[in-house]
């Protein structure tokens, strides 16, 4: 069932294309039934999960890698899955109305459905690799959503930032998860199960004790923090506001950014409760919590304001995981639910304001109180919940957060830090909320606003934010029921089954007092909202700009590197190659291979052998120093002849003959070739280059001499050569063993060899005869052949059948008649 649920979520993606048709608002709500169906299905499972525990399903995928499509539905998954599909339903309907005039809605919904499937996969996954599979898909689909308006550079930039940061985190996460799996294997978990979440959690305490725990967690944290936009990876989230509002509301408030939180919550019972875990999470989460809240109220763009408050909230959630304990778990799940409700409502209403007024700039709004009263109510409720004003669900959540900090059993300063972060954030939220509300709805309408015909939107659009907003108001009425629903989720985070009771008023206690104090301070400061916002308390270093600079730096480095190493000069490349040869072959030779060279017994050569062999260096010097091409050719032929003579001297008749004949042919070819070259060689290189090259050449020569000595005198084993001598006549029916080897013993080599010649022939034929006249721009890029004067007559595009290969040959003399 779980598997089919995820598959269904992916399968509905193509249906999104239906939304290309009018009326889009209606089609949108029609399509919203698809996620709603999943939502309903999930609801039917609540009872089972609450009463009977998790549901597990497994499908084999790549069992040898420990990658199974394993899905688990427990309290925590259920909470997330319901949020995803529930808010998803509202978002799809909302998108239909919001993007009524946009032909691309179909594409948008395809991405959205794909994202939904991926997100469901993440929260239902019962195997860390399965989870990673879907995790990456959320990154990719969100990239497509953020870049939806890809004609705009900002959208591309935002999308790219988001993908690079979350993708980077994803890869870190993969390494971390693989390390977890490796650690699990170390402590005795079966290989096929090493990546199953329940197995990892069960072996948690032993894994914590391994060496891999620290690095694994470091990488997992990187993954979670990037995904959940924790400081200092937070900046992609405001950038992601380039996405159409429905996507922002869904991805960047309710779902994707919570994946990091979800992951940590999932791992908490096994991996949590260690100093590394708690202190890292409290520090990062707490800082982001406070930082986000304070940056939030300085924003003018409503979506940016909401984005910063979102990342602040995410910090809060991570702080709760860091604080740990029962209360931490309880506060976490409560906050998740509360945040999902009010933040999606706020984003959607922000979209409505944008949609109706044409702007999201708080300085260009105002007085919407009369024009959009219903919207104002929704925003008001959602903001009250965010601020944590009593009787709202957000209040309950904040209460529990305070409790988690107060009751935490961490060592001394940490709970206090957590508490401070919560209070700072609470104050910040109040200022931000007030700022939003006042500037948008109160006061006099901005002239820009009046120009538009501004009014409340259609019900089709308004219903979507209304539902979660009113739920924030109504849920406190059913707290016992909510508690039953949340208890399994909290148990999953805590690691042991327990139940808890949420309440609105638990008597006057520390938490309540702190809460009220924060509200008081917040209200006081809120009156000073304008001055605070203008005040540069927190120099807002733009993370996005820093990141851009980093990327530019990397690019500049890459370009410099490419320019330096890829110079285009062949001799530089050859130098690299020779350098590599010295490193790869030379160094091992000096270390290992040199050993026996000094002890070689050598027989003394005859006089004529000395003459023949020493003519080779003479020839080389003649070649190098030759001033004319003819001299060089003669010198090289002489070397070739000496090589042939060496073959003669040492009883290799066939070789000598072949070498001699090949040498003759090569010389003829060289004579042809050199007729295009200048008849005298020029000295291109300055003297120091020549000396440098000479030194390199001599060093290379010495290395090779050594290699020859070492190789020729090391015979580790008996050669197989005598076999050929013995078998030549009985098996090969020939007395010339070399030839028998060529045509019988190793005739397969010879076959390849004649193919080489054959290929050489047709390659040379094509090279010399085929010249594109009309440059093949379409296939070979921008290269256009310049026809040289001498080439004008060279015929193009004819094969051998035309016979006329060159204009210079009269057509009557076709020689290339095919056989």
């Amino acid at each position: 069932m779980l598997l089919s649920m995820v598959l269904f979520a992916f399968a509905m993606a193509p249906l999104g294309l239906l939304a290309r048709r009018e009326p889009r608002a209606l089609v949108g709500w029609g399509l919203a039934l698809l996620p709603f169906a999943i939502f309903v299905l999930l609801c039917t499972q609540i009872g089972t999960v609450v009463n009977q525990g998790p549901i597990v399903e497994t499908l084999r995928w790549v069992p040898t890698m420990g990658l199974e499509l394993r899905f688990t539905l427990d309290g925590l998954s259920l909470l997330f899955a319901l949020i995803i599909t529930g808010i998803g339903t509202l978002i799809v309907g909302y998108a239909g109305a919001y993007m009524e005039k946009d032909i691309g809605l179909g594409r948008f919904l395809v991405y959205l459905f794909l994202f939904m499937g991926a997100m469901l996969g993440v929260v239902l996954a019962g195997n860390v690799l399965t989870m990673f599979v879907f995790w990456e898909l959320t990154s990719v689909t969100s990239y497509l959503l953020i870049g939806y308006k890809h004609e705009y550079p900002d959208a591309r930039r935002g999308a790219q930032h988001s993908l690079l940061i979350t993708g980077f985190g994803g890869l870190a996460l993969l390494v971390g998860l693989l390390m977890l799996g490796a650690a699990a294997k170390q402590v005795g978990v079966l290989a096929e199960q090493a990546y199953n979440l329940d197995a990892i959690i069960a072996a948690g305490r032993q894994i914590v004790a391994t060496d891999l725990y620290g690095p694994a967690m470091a990488f997992v944290f990187l993954g979670a923090f990037t995904k959940s936009a924790q400081f200092p990876f937070h900046f992609w989230l405001p950038g992601a506001m380039q996405a159409p509002t429905p996507a922002s509301a869904f991805l960047h408030s309710a779902t994707m950014v919570k994946a990091g939180v979800y992951l940590l919550a999932r791992l908490a019972p096994g991996m949590g409760d260690t100093p590394l875990w708690n202190y890292t999470l409290v520090t990062v989460g707490g800082f982001t919590f406070a930082f986000g809240a304070f940056v939030a109220f300085r924003q003018y763009d409503i979506k940016a304001l909401l984005a910063y408050s979102t990342l602040s909230q995410l910090g809060g959630l991570i702080l709760m995981i860091g604080l740990g304990g029962k209360y931490g778990a309880e506060a976490l799940v409560t906050l998740i639910l509360a945040h999902a409700l009010y933040k999606s409502a706020l984003f959607m209403t922000a979209g409505i304001i944008d949609h109706e007024t044409g702007t999201r700039d708080l300085n260009r709004l105002g007085g919407l109180r009369k024009l959009m009263p219903r919207t104002m109510v929704i925003v008001g409720i959602a903001l009250l919940s965010q601020m944590g004003i009593p009787i709202m669900f957000g209040f309950v959540a904040k209460e529990w957060a305070l409790k988690a900090a107060l009751e935490s059993d961490l060592a001394a300063p940490w709970p206090l830090l957590g508490l401070a972060a919560i209070l700072i954030a609470a104050v910040g939220y109040i200022i931000a909320a007030w700022r939003f509300f006042k500037n948008a709805f109160l006061g006099k309408p901005h002239p820009d606003v009046l120009q538009h015909h501004v009014h409340d939107p259609k019900v089709a659009m308004l219903i979507s934010p209304a539902v979660p907003a009113f739920l924030s108001l109504l849920l406190p009425l059913g707290l016992p029921w909510v508690s039953t629903f949340l208890s399994p989720a909290a148990s999953a985070v805590y690691g042991h089954d327990f139940t808890f009771e949420l309440y609105l008023y638990g008597g006057v206690n520390q938490a309540l007092l702190f809460s009220l104090a924060a509200i008081g301070v917040g209200v006081l400061l809120a009156t000073q909202e304008r001055r605070l916002a203008a005040h540069r308390i927190i120099a807002s270093v733009s993370g996005a700009k820093l990141f851009d600079r980093l990327v530019e730096g990397i690019l500049a480095f890459a370009t410099g590197l490419a320019r330096t190493i890829q110079s285009g000069r062949l001799r530089t490349y050859i130098l690299y190659t020779i350098f590599a040869y010295f490193v790869i072959v030379g160094i091992p030779f000096v270390i290992y291979g040199l050993g026996d060279v000094r002890s070689i017994q050598d027989n003394s050569p005859y006089f004529y052998e000395v003459v023949v062999v020493s003519l080779i260096p003479v020839g080389i010097i003649a070649t190098i120093t030759a001033r004319s091409r003819l001299g060089a050719i003669i010198a090289v032929s002489m070397i070739g002849a000496m090589v042939a003579l060496i073959f003669v001297l040492f009883s290799a008749a066939d070789l000598a003959l072949t070498q001699l004949l090949i040498e003759v042919l090569s010389t003829v070819f060289l004579l042809f070739l050199f007729s295009v070259m200048p008849s005298r060689f020029r000295n291109f290189s300055p003297a120091w280059v020549r000396w440098r090259d000479a030194v390199i050449a001599v060093a290379f020569g010495i290395l090779m001499s050594g290699l020859v000595l070492a190789g020729a005198t090391t015979n580790l084993f008996q050669s197989i050569a005598p076999y050929y001598l013995e078998q030549s006549v009985p098996g090969g029916k020939g007395a010339n063993v070399v030839n028998v080897i060529l045509v019988d013993f190793r005739s397969f080599d010879t076959l390849g060899e004649i193919v080489v010649l054959f290929v050489a022939l047709i390659s040379i034929f094509g090279l010399l005869r085929f010249r594109k006249q009309r440059s093949d721009v379409r296939s070979s890029g921008r290269e256009r052949l310049t026809i040289l004067p001498g080439e004008a007559g060279v015929l193009v595009g004819n094969g051998m059948d035309e016979g006329v290969e060159r204009a210079a040959v009269p057509s009557s003399q076709k020689q290339e008649k095919s056989t």
Binding site: A653, D654, L657, T658, L661, I662, L665, V668, F669, F672, L673, S675, V676, G732, K733, G734, A735, N736, V738, N739, V740, L742, V743, D744, S747, F748, T750, L751, I754, L757, F758, A760, L761, I762, I764, F765, L768, R769, P789, G790, E791, A792, G793, L795, N798, M800, E802, V804, E805, R806, A807, A808, V809, P810, Q813, Q815, E816, K817, S818, T819
Partner: protein, 163 residues
């Protein structure tokens, strides 16, 4: 009209003319004796193509083209086909590719005949075709072989597009 090139060397031409049949004969001889004495398909082929290339140098490529009317590309393909055809029969009767078959009795003057000899003939043909054709291709390039080009210049043919 093909004329002799103007780097006249009577000696070279005479030698080339005389040597041609001798060298071709020698090449076949080299091919056939190769199984028992130094020689073989490669060496035979190289000797034959040296003979042809010598003609080419002596009389110019057009002359060589006209006198020895061979489609070298086709000949090269035939060489491959001959070499492979000598190797396939074994495969057809379920023996490994290139497994040798021999006639039971030696043929006087030539020696034993078998598929390796046929294979060697394929090598021989291919080597002739490849080396000669490459030499011809190079020699026919307008920029190469400058003496030959000067000749064409006299006739006013160079550079005139025909096709």
């Amino acid at each position: 009209m093909i004329k002799a090139t103007n780097y006249d060397s009577i000696v070279l031409r005479t030698v080339a003319r005389l040597m041609m049949p001798l060298l071709l004969l020698l090449s076949v001889f080299m091919l056939l004796r190769g199984h028992n004495l130094p020689g073989g398909g490669f060496i035979g082929g190289l000797v034959a193509s040296s003979a042809i290339i010598m003609q080419m140098i002596a009389f110019g490529p057009e002359y060589a083209r006209r006198v020895i009317r061979v489609n070298y590309l086709g000949l090269a393909a035939v060489g491959i086909l001959v070499a492979v055809s000598a190797s396939v029969p074994a495969l057809l009767v379920g023996l490994p590719f290139m497994r040798a078959f021999w006639l039971p009795e030696a043929i006087p003057g030539i020696g034993k005949l078998g598929t390796p000899v046929v294979f060697d003939v394929g090598v021989f043909l291919l080597v002739i075709a490849v080396t000669t054709k490459i030499a011809m291709l190079l020699s026919e390039e307008p920029d190469l072989f400058p003496m030959h080009m000067e000749q064409e210049d006299e006739e006013g043919v160079t550079g005139a597009p025909k096709a």
